[in-house]
C-alpha cells in the first residue's frame, strides 16, 4: 500500500488554484490548528485540517498512571469542560467497581457540569462575536463568565482545571457560600442573557454572516459523528443527558434544543438556548442538594477488574466517550478517549465548500472547536 504524501495533494490541484495556509498561529483557530485552504478566486474549494501541533499523547500517558492520576489529565483535553471530563472517568471507574455514590455527589456533579456548560458557551459566544469583528461581545461574555469562575475558585481553589470530581465522589465538600452565590449568579445571568440577544442575535451583519452559511444536513452530521450543539443544529438528537441519563439528569426536567436549519445560525441558537436550559437545571437542583457525605470510601489503590468498560457523557462540545481495557492492574492496559471536537472538526471541509474564504472563520467559529481536545 502506498502512503499518500501531502505534496501529492498539492500537485493534484487544478491549474489556477491558490493554496493558502491559515494558522497554526491564526487567532481565529483559538489554539494551534492549521488549515490548508484551496481557493478558486475567493471561493473555497476545500479545506484540509492539519492537527498535532499540541499532541501530548494523553492516551499513552494514561497507560502509566493510576485512575485518580488520570483525572488530572482529562482536565487538559477540553479545558472548557473540565468538570464533565472528570465526571466521565469517575463514573466509569465507579461503574466498573460497582460503587454507588451518594445522592449529594450526583446533585453537585450535575450542578457543576451545568455551570461549566454555561461558562463554556459564554466563552464561545464571546469569541464567536469577536471572530466576526464584534469586540464588545468578548467583554460581555468574559464579564459573565468571570462570575462562574469566581464561584469555582471559592469552592475548589482553581478557575480552569479543577480536577474536583474524582472516582468515589468529590475531592472535597462545596463551600458554604456555593448555593447562595450560584443562586445569585442565576438571578444575575437571567437579566444579562437577553443582552446577548440584543447585541448579536438581532444584528443584521451577524445574521447575514451566519444564516445559510455552512449548511450541514442531518445525514452528514450523523455520518461525520458531529455531536453536541453542532449536531443538534442539524436536528440530530444526540444529547447523552436525555438518551443515557447519568448523575442526576434523570431527576430534572429540561428540553433538548434542536434546530432544523443546520447552518451557523442554527448552531448559534442552540448554544444560546442551552444556556437558558442549563440555568433551569441548576435552579431545580440547587435548593434540593441532599445532606450526606461528599465521597464514598474508596480503596487507596483502585484496581479495575479485568474487562472492557465504556462511559459516555455530554460535555459542552458534544459526546465524550471514555473506553478502558483493564487487565486487573492499577494502570489501564489501554485507555481511549472519543472526544467530541475530533469528530466535529472534520466536518469543516464539507461545510466550507462553495463559501468565501472570509466565511471560513465564521464557520469554524460556529463549530466551537477546542484544539487540545482534538490533539489529546
Amino acid at each position: 500500500m502506498q502512503e499518500v504524501e501531502f505534496s501529492d495533494i498539492l500537485t493534484a490541484q487544478e491549474d489556477g488554484d491558490y493554496i493558502v495556509n491559515i494558522g497554526p498561529q491564526h487567532p481565529s483557530t483559538h489554539g494551534v490548528m492549521r488549515f490548508v485552504v484551496s481557493l478558486k478566486g475567493e471561493m473555497l474549494d476545500y479545506v484540509v485540517p492539519h492537527c498535532g501541533y499540541i499532541h501530548r499523547g494523553i492516551e499513552k500517558m494514561c497507560e502509566r498512571m493510576t485512575y485518580p492520576q488520570i483525572i488530572h489529565l482529562t482536565d487538559r483535553m477540553d479545558y472548557l469542560s473540565a468538570h464533565m471530563n472528570n465526571e466521565a472517568v469517575s463514573i466509569l471507574v465507579e461503574k466498573a467497581l460497582g460503587v454507588e455514590v451518594p445522592e449529594r455527589v450526583k446533585y453537585i456533579r450535575t450542578i457543576l457540569s451545568e455551570l461549566q456548560r454555561i461558562a463554556s458557551h459564554q466563552l464561545w459566544w464571546a469569541a464567536f462575536g469577536m471572530d466576526m469583528g464584534g469586540l464588545t461581545c468578548f467583554f460581555y461574555g468574559l464579564r459573565d463568565r468571570e462570575k462562574i469562575l469566581d464561584i469555582f475558585e471559592e469552592s475548589f481553589g482553581s478557575r480552569l482545571l479543577h480536577s474536583f470530581i474524582c472516582p468515589g465522589g468529590l475531592m472535597g465538600d462545596i463551600h458554604p457560600n456555593f448555593q447562595k452565590r450560584t443562586k445569585e449568579f442565576i438571578t444575575y445571568f437571567r437579566k444579562k442573557l437577553p443582552e446577548y440577544d440584543q447585541l448579536l442575535t438581532g444584528n443584521i451583519i451577524f445574521e447575514q454572516r451566519t444564516k445559510g452559511m455552512g449548511i450541514m444536513s442531518k445525514e452528514d452530521a450523523i455520518s461525520f459523528g458531529a455531536t453536541g450543539p453542532t449536531g443538534r443544529g442539524s436536528n440530530f438528537a444526540c444529547d447523552i443527558r436525555k438518551k443515557f441519563p447519568y448523575s442526576a439528569y434523570d431527576k430534572v426536567d429540561f428540553k433538548e434544543i434542536l434546530y432544523t436549519e443546520g447552518d451557523s445560525w442554527a448552531r448559534y441558537k442552540v448554544r444560546v438556548d442551552e444556556m437558558w436550559e442549563s440555568m433551569k437545571i441548576i435552579e431545580q437542583l440547587i435548593d434540593n442538594i441532599p445532606e450526606g457525605d461528599y465521597s464514598t470510601k474508596m480503596k487507596p489503590i483502585i484496581k479495575l477488574p479485568e474487562g472492557e468498560y465504556s462511559q459516555r457523557v455530554e460535555t459542552a462540545k458534544g459526546d465524550l466517550g471514555v473506553f478502558v481495557v483493564s487487565k486487573g492492574e492499577k494502570y489501564p492496559y489501554r485507555m481511549h478517549f472519543r472526544t467530541p471536537n475530533f469528530s466535529n472538526l472534520f466536518v469543516i471541509s464539507q461545510l466550507c465548500k462553495g463559501n468565501k474564504i472570509a466565511d471560513l472563520i465564521a464557520i469554524s467559529g460556529s463549530l466551537d472547536l477546542v484544539i487540545p481536545d482534538i490533539d489529546r
Binding site: V4, S223, R312, F342
Partner: protein, 151 residues
Amino acid sequence: MEKEQLGLVLAELFPAMEVVTSGEHVRVKAAPAEFHKLATTLRDDSRFQFDFLFNLYGVDREDKFSLIYNFESTKLGHIIDIETDLADHDNPVMDTVSDLWKTAEFQEREIYDLMGVKFSNHPDLRRLFLEDGWGFPLRKDYKDDINFIER
C-alpha cells in the same frame, strides 16, 4: 431492538460469528475478512440501521491487534460493539469502512498514526498527529529513549 433480540437476529444472519449479550452492550466478534460485509449489513438492513459510528479504537494485545467499533442507531436507539482481531502483529491490515461512515476516515487515520494499523482502500491514509517516520507510540513495544522513563 432489545439487546437479546438483536443478538439473536445477528447470530441467525452470521452464524460464524460469536455474539455475546451478557455485557452492557451486544458484542460481536467478527473475522476481518467478512467485516466489511457485516458493516454494510449493519448500516443498510432496516432491522439494524446503525447509521452512527460512534467510536473506533484499537488495542495492542501484544500478539495481535484488536479493533473495536461502537455503532449506534439514531433511529432505533440500539448499540452494538464489534471486535475484530488482526492476527498479523507485524503488518496489520484492515478493510476501511470510510465509504460507509465518513467519520471512519479520520478515526482510521488516527489509529494508523498511533498504532500502525493500515486500512486498505482508505482514500487518504496519512499520519494525523505525528511526523512521518515517528514510530507507532500506542504499540506496547514502542521505545523512546529520549522522552521515556522506565520505572
